[in-house]
Amino acid sequence: MRKYHPARKALYTLQILELVLCAALGIVAWYYLKFFPALAWIAVMLIAIMYILTAIIYLPLYIKKTIITIAENEIIVRTGVFIETKSIMRHDAVQYISIVRTPLSKYTSLNNIVVNALGGRLFLLFLSRENAEEIVDILQERGIKT
């Protein structure tokens, strides 16, 4: 049985990306609302609060609480911040696997695996490249019919 966690690098990448996005939104809001300073400030504050709630509070908790377990006969994914969910998928139900990478995924650790099975899918998100390749190799050996 092997356990994996989403990579910390993925968390930092997502936080930076969200910071850029919120900054852009803030600038746009300020530009279009500059004739109503009070409204402009409210919009900027709301964007800042949204950033703090998601990037500073939610995402780190999500990364911490997510555990991917590759067991003898099944894949188990435990995740969720407020509502915990546990998904179990048997290896022999797996039909095929997709690995989704973003540019510079070696440095950003935004490597995702989609496990396609009868009647459903399992998402293994924000893995380091090494972990993603290891999981794919294990699943190929055990789960996929050849």
Binding site: Q95, Y96, R101
Partner: protein
């Protein structure tokens, strides 16, 4: 060997709205007598959007490819989010190849590969490749050279009957409205205006005893149905199905040629369908439920389009001998008739009562209300007849390998035959009245790409429980 997508995929990757943006842009350039400076300064936003769409389509084409191993196909796609999917050949249920006249001229073939996993709306893998490359994706076609193969091709008049039965006015109307709308957006609004004027004039001429609006609606629905019928005939012409070793191979189409190659081990169930009219003439169609076949818009998962019921049963035995239907041994008892006909009877009575009340309140609208009530009552009366027939024909039966379920879904009678191993769940439900009467409804779910459920109503509880217990060992 790595195979890249055909350049025609660039056009596929461009949305329909692109052309609506492009043609007016080009029209503007012509109107400005090719004064590029004025054109660019005036329409730079539109030019940027058009250019971005084109660049995106080219990058998307560049990112699409597949590599074939002995037992795996590695699919790569995406621009920013690069996806690599490794699909074992053994997991493939259906391979679909499609070639329109235009694609044929460019030597391109559209290929879709399906498994029992993935989305029930989108193909697992879709790519347009050169014809030579498409022939390498022949995992399910290798046994076509096998001598022991059996074929079936329906006669042309049965294909016409099938197109008559399966044509859907709604799809024809949607096509017509989209065509007029999009053509009008490109050419000008005059076309749309002409069509509306024509329908209005025609409906006034034909409105003898019925309101013109009702005639106009009928014209639209009838035109939609005729278009759908023509498309269906063209789609299913030259239909032929061959069974070789373990696979089924279907060919059809006049202008657009389609091939479907199905792994018969992956068939979830067979569905013999009839309407009340075709039942009266002992005509039936056979459909197959297998991941991928029948998934696309206007595509029907048909094995035998339409022929006599006896021929359907014989063809089923020839093409799919591993799935043999069983006789219905558990059927609704006489007292179960009320459960079948009560809802439609109540609706029919309600329509009549509501119409009478409305005529009392709005006497000047007597003609329109009567017409609408009559139009609503006709399908309900037909439904009542269908439900009565369903009571006689419904039931469940089983043999060693398969279970056969006969029931009605809306206006269509289905005889489902499925291997017991494909049953995902069986459920017995009872209303308080059924509990008192010793009857139940049984719901059977099939195990496939998506869950399908089949419901037979008003069966005797004891015999139904026995059948469920027999099937349990195989689930």
């Amino acid at each position: 060997m790595k195979v890249k997508a055909h350049p025609i995929s660039i056009i596929e990757g461009i949305s329909k709205n692109f052309w609506i943006l492009l043609f007016p842009l080009l029209r503007g350039l012509i109107a400005m007598q090719f004064d590029l400076y004025r054109w660019v300064t005036g329409a730079w936003v539109d030019i940027m959007i058009v250019t971005s769409v084109l660049i995106y389509a080219i990058l998307r084409w560049r990112g699409m490819s597949f590599t074939l191993d002995e037992d795996t196909i590695l699919v790569q796609r995406g621009i920013i989010f690069r996806s690599k999917s490794r699909i074992p050949v053994d997991a493939i249920t259906t391979v679909i190849k499609e070639q329109t006249i235009i694609y044929n001229a460019f030597g391109a073939v559209k290929v879709r590969i399906e498994t029992n996993a993935g989305s029930k709306r989108k193909a697992d893998f879709k790519i347009t490749v050169r014809k030579q490359s498409a022939s390498t994706l022949n995992f399910l076609e290798r046994d076509l050279s096998n001598r022991t193969k059996k074929s079936y091709a329906p006669k042309w008049y049965y294909l016409i009957v099938f197109s008559l039965i399966s044509s859907n006015s709604l799809s024809g109307v949607l096509f017509l409205s989209a065509f007029i709308s999009q053509t009008g957006a490109v050419i000008g609004r005059e076309l749309r205006g002409d069509v509306i004027t024509t329908i209005t004039t025609l409906s006034h001429r034909l409105a003898i005893g019925i309101p013109p609006i009702a005639v106009a609606i009928s014209i639209v629905i009838l035109s939609g149905w005729v278009i759908a019928f023509i498309f269906n005939v063209l789609r299913h012409l030259h239909f032929e199905i061959t069974r070789s070793n373990k696979n089924l191979h279907i060919r059809e189409g006049l202008f657009t040629k389609r091939q479907y190659h199905i792994n018969s081990d992956r068939i979830a169930f067979l569905d013999m369908r009839q309407t009340l009219t075709t039942k009266a003439f002992s005509i039936a169609s056979l459909y197959v439920y297998c991941a991928g076949y029948g998934k696309e818009k206007n595509e029907r998962a048909v094995l035998v389009p339409a022929t006599s019921k006896r021929e359907v049963e014989g063809t089923m035995r020839m093409l799919v001998p591993e799935i043999t239907p069983a006789k219905a041994t558990v059927k609704p008892p006489p007292r179960g008739l009320v459960g079948y006909i009560l809802p439609s009877s109540l609706m029919l009575i309600s329509i009549t009562l509501v119409a009478k009340i409305l005529i009392g309140i709005f006497p000047s609208w007597h003609q329109l209300i009567s017409f609408v009530a009559a139009m609503a009552a006709i399908p309900l009366a037909w439904l009542l007849l269908v439900k009565f027939t369903a009571f006689i024909t419904s039931g469940i039966g089983e043999n060693e390998n398969a279970v056969t379920i006969r029931y009605v879904r809306r206006y269509s009678f289905s005889t489902i035959t499925m291997p017991k191993t494909r049953i995902a769940k069986m459920q017995i439900t009872q209303t308080p009245f059924q509990r008192w009467a010793g009857r139940c409804n049984v719901v059977i779910y099939t195990n496939a790409e998506s869950k399908q459920k089949h419901i037979v109503k008003q069966l005797p509880l004891k015999q139904t429980r026995e059948i469920i217990l027999n099937c349990r060992n195989y689930m």
